[in-house]
C-alpha cells in the first residue's frame, strides 16, 4: 500500500465536518483503552465532550480554561504569521506572570483602575523583553528562533524558581510561592460565584485586535509578506527586520498577558507551575486554528473543553486521569492530520 498526497481542496460543505471526523476517529481508536480499564466508551465520551457543556457551571469553567489558551494561541499566531517561529510563549508567559506579581503585590494602596492596567502593561512589557533576545538574534544574526525561544522557556522557569525559592518564598508556608497580590489587583469576576473573570474579556479583545491587525491593516499584510517571502517583502520596500521584530515583540507581549491573566484571574500569586504548558498548547491552538483569529478562538474553546472533559471522565468513571490525557493527545494528532483534508486528498494505491 502506498499513500499519496495530492493537492485538491475539499468541497466547502465538507470542511466543517473535518473536525467531527477527527473526533469520531479518535473515539474509535481510543475506545480500546477505555474498554481496557473497564469503562463504557459511550459514557467516557459523553463526559469528555458533552458533559462539560451540559451545565452552566462547567460551561463557564470551559471558558475559564480557554482564556489563557486564547491568549497564548493569539500570541503564537501573531508570531507565526509574521514568520517568527516563536516556541517560547511558555517562557514569555512566565515572565509576564512574574512582572504582574511584582506589580500586584505592591498595589495595596492603588485602586483597581490603576492596578490592573499597570499589571497588564507590566506583563506585556515583560513578555516582550523575554522575546527580545531571540528576536534580535534572528534579525541581526539570522539565528533560528525556534531553538532560542525554546531554550529560554527552561531559563524562564529556572528564574521563576530561583525567585520563588529565594526572595519571594512565601513567608508563612515556606513554599515556593510568592505573596498574594493586592485585592485591588485581582481581576473582578464577570459572574458571581464562578471563576469567569475580566481576563476572559481581555482575551476576546486581544483576539479581536489580532484579527483586525492581520486582516484589515497594511501592517498585517506586511507581516504576511515578511512571513511568506521575506526576500520579496524587502524588495517591495517593506522593512523586514522591523516588521519581524514587531511581530515577535507583540507576540511575546500577548504571551505575557496570558501570564498576567493567570496571576490576576486565577492564582493571585506566582507559582512555578503557573504556565503549566499552556504556552506550548498555544502552538497547538494556533496551528489547529489555521493561524487565523477565529480559528484560534474555536481551537482554544475546543482544547479548553477536552481539557475540562478529561478530568471529568476520570472522576465520573473512576478511570486513571491519564486516560483523558491520552485521548486529548490522540485527538490533537488526529485533528492535525485530518485538517490536511481541507487542502489535500490522500490517495491510497
Amino acid at each position: 500500500m502506498k499513500l499519496r498526497i495530492e493537492k485538491s481542496p475539499a468541497p466547502v460543505w465538507f470542511r466543517p465536518l473535518i473536525p467531527l471526523l477527527a473526533i469520531l476517529f479518535t473515539i474509535l481508536i481510543t475506545s480500546v483503552l477505555v474498554i481496557l480499564v473497564g469503562a463504557n466508551p459511550f459514557h467516557a465520551f459523553y463526559y469528555f465532550l458533552i458533559d462539560p457543556l451540559s451545565s452552566r457551571v462547567s460551561f463557564i469553567e470551559v471558558l475559564v480554561k480557554s482564556t489563557p489558551l486564547l491568549l497564548t494561541g493569539a500570541a503564537v499566531t501573531f508570531a507565526f504569521v509574521g514568520g517568527f517561529w516563536n516556541i517560547g510563549a511558555e517562557g514569555q508567559m512566565l515572565m509576564g506572570a512574574t512582572a504582574a506579581t511584582a506589580i500586584g503585590i505592591h498595589m495595596h494602596a492603588a485602586p483597581p483602575w490603576v492596578a490592573i492596567p499597570l499589571m497588564l502593561a507590566g506583563g506585556f512589557a515583560a513578555g516582550m523583553a523575554w522575546v527580545l533576545i531571540p528576536a534580535l538574534m534572528r534579525v541581526k544574526l539570522h539565528i533560528d528562533e525556534v531553538v532560542t525561544t525554546l531554550l529560554l522557556n527552561a531559563v524562564a522557569l529556572l528564574i521563576v524558581s530561583a525567585i520563588l525559592n529565594g526572595p519571594w518564598r512565601d513567608p508563612v508556608s515556606q513554599w515556593p510561592q510568592s505573596p498574594e497580590i493586592a485585592a485591588s489587583a485581582i481581576f473582578p469576576k464577570l459572574i458571581p460565584r464562578t471563576r469567569l473573570h475580566l481576563g476572559f474579556l481581555i482575551a476576546l479583545a486581544v483576539i479581536l485586535i489580532v484579527w483586525f491587525i492581520l486582516t484589515r491593516t497594511p501592517f498585517g499584510l506586511k507581516m504576511k509578506a515578511v512571513g511568506l517571502g521575506p526576500q520579496a517583502a524587502r524588495f517591495a520596500g517593506i522593512n523586514v527586520d522591523r516588521t519581524l521584530l514587531i511581530s515577535a515583540l507583540v507576540s511575546g507581549g500577548i504571551a505575557g498577558l496570558a501570564g498576567v491573566n493567570e496571576v490576576a484571574g486565577i492564582h493571585y500569586h506566582l507559582i512555578d507551575a503557573i504556565a503549566g504548558g499552556q504556552g506550548y498548547t498555544g502552538i497547538i491552538v494556533a496551528t489547529l486554528g489555521g493561524l487565523n483569529a477565529w480559528g484560534v478562538t474555536l481551537a482554544a474553546f475546543f482544547i479548553g473543553l477536552i481539557d475540562t472533559g478529561s478530568q471529568t471522565v476520570s472522576r465520573a468513571l473512576g478511570v486513571p486521569i491519564y486516560l483523558g490525557d491520552v485521548i486529548q493527545a490522540t485527538l490533537l494528532l488526529t485533528t492535525l492530520a485530518f485538517l490536511l483534508f481541507q487542502r489535500y486528498r490522500i490517495r491510497i494505491r
Partner: protein
Amino acid sequence: MEQAVWLTFLVGVLAATLRVATPLVWASIGEVYTERSGVLNLGIEGIMFLGAFVGFAAAAKASQAGLPGYLWIGLGAAVLAGVIMALLMGLLSVTLGVNQHVSGLGITLLSIALSMFGFRLVFGESKVLPSIEPFGQIAIFGNIPILGPVLNQYLLTYVAFLVLVPLAWWMLYRSSFGLSLRAVGENPEAADAAGVNVYRIRYLALIIGGAFMAIGGAFLSLAQLGAFSPGIIAGRGWVSIALVIFARWDPVRAMWGALLFGAVSALQLRLQTLGFQLPYEAFLALPYLITIFALAIAGRNAPYPGAYLKPYRRE
C-alpha cells in the same frame, strides 16, 4: 589529606559527569539523526519518557516471570516503543507533512500520557515505587587506583561513548546511508532526483533517532534507577535539543556538549555538598545559556540542514 579530598572530589565529578551525560548522548545523537534528515523531532522528551516506562515495565514483568535476561527484554521493548513513536512522527511529519513543531509536541504529550496510563494499568496504585534489580556497573577496572571509580560505569555508558559516538560519526560521514541522509536533509528534491527515496531515508532517520532516544530514557529506569517515576526525564529531552544545536548537528560535538552538561550538573551537586551555597538554578540554566551564546557566536553560519522543518512532497 587536603589533596586526597580534592582527588576524591575530582574523581567523583568525573564519574558523575559520564553517568549524567549518558542519556543525553543517546538522545542527542538520536536527534542529530532525525534533524540531519530535515525533521525536528520535538517528540524527544516524550519518547525518552516512554522508553523509560516501557523499558521498566517490560523488565519488571519479565523479571516477575523469572526470565533471566529481563533487563535486555526491557531494553528491547523500549527500543520498540521508541520506534513506534518514531513511525507515528513519520506518518505525521513525513507522509502527511504536518507542522513539525506541533506534531512533535503532540507526540510528547501522547507518549507521556500513554506511559502514565500504562503505569497505572500495569502496576496499579502502588504505595512504594516498584523497582527491579538494574543493570550493574562494570567493575573490571574497579581496582585501578584513582581512576577506578571513573571507569566503573554502566554498559550503556560504555556503549554510548565507545561505540555509539564513533559509529554515528562513521555512519553520517562515511557511509552511503549517511550521505543520503545529509542530502535528504539539505535538499530533498536533489536527493529524490538522484534516486534516493526521501521518505524512506526520513523514516529510517526517525526510527534510528527514536530508538536512541528511547534507550536514553531506558538508561535512567533500567540502569541508573531500577525504577520508574513520573519525574524521570525531567527536561532531559529539551536539553538534548539544545545540545544538538550547540553541536551544530555533529555527533562528536554532541558528545562533548553532553559531557559539559554532565560536568556542570555533577559539579553543582558536589559543590552543594561541600557547603557552597550557589543558586542551583544558575547552574541548571548554564547549558541553555551556553547554547544560546554558542549560537550567537556561530551566528549566521549555523549550518542548519537546508530542509529543516520542511515537509517534502513530490507533486
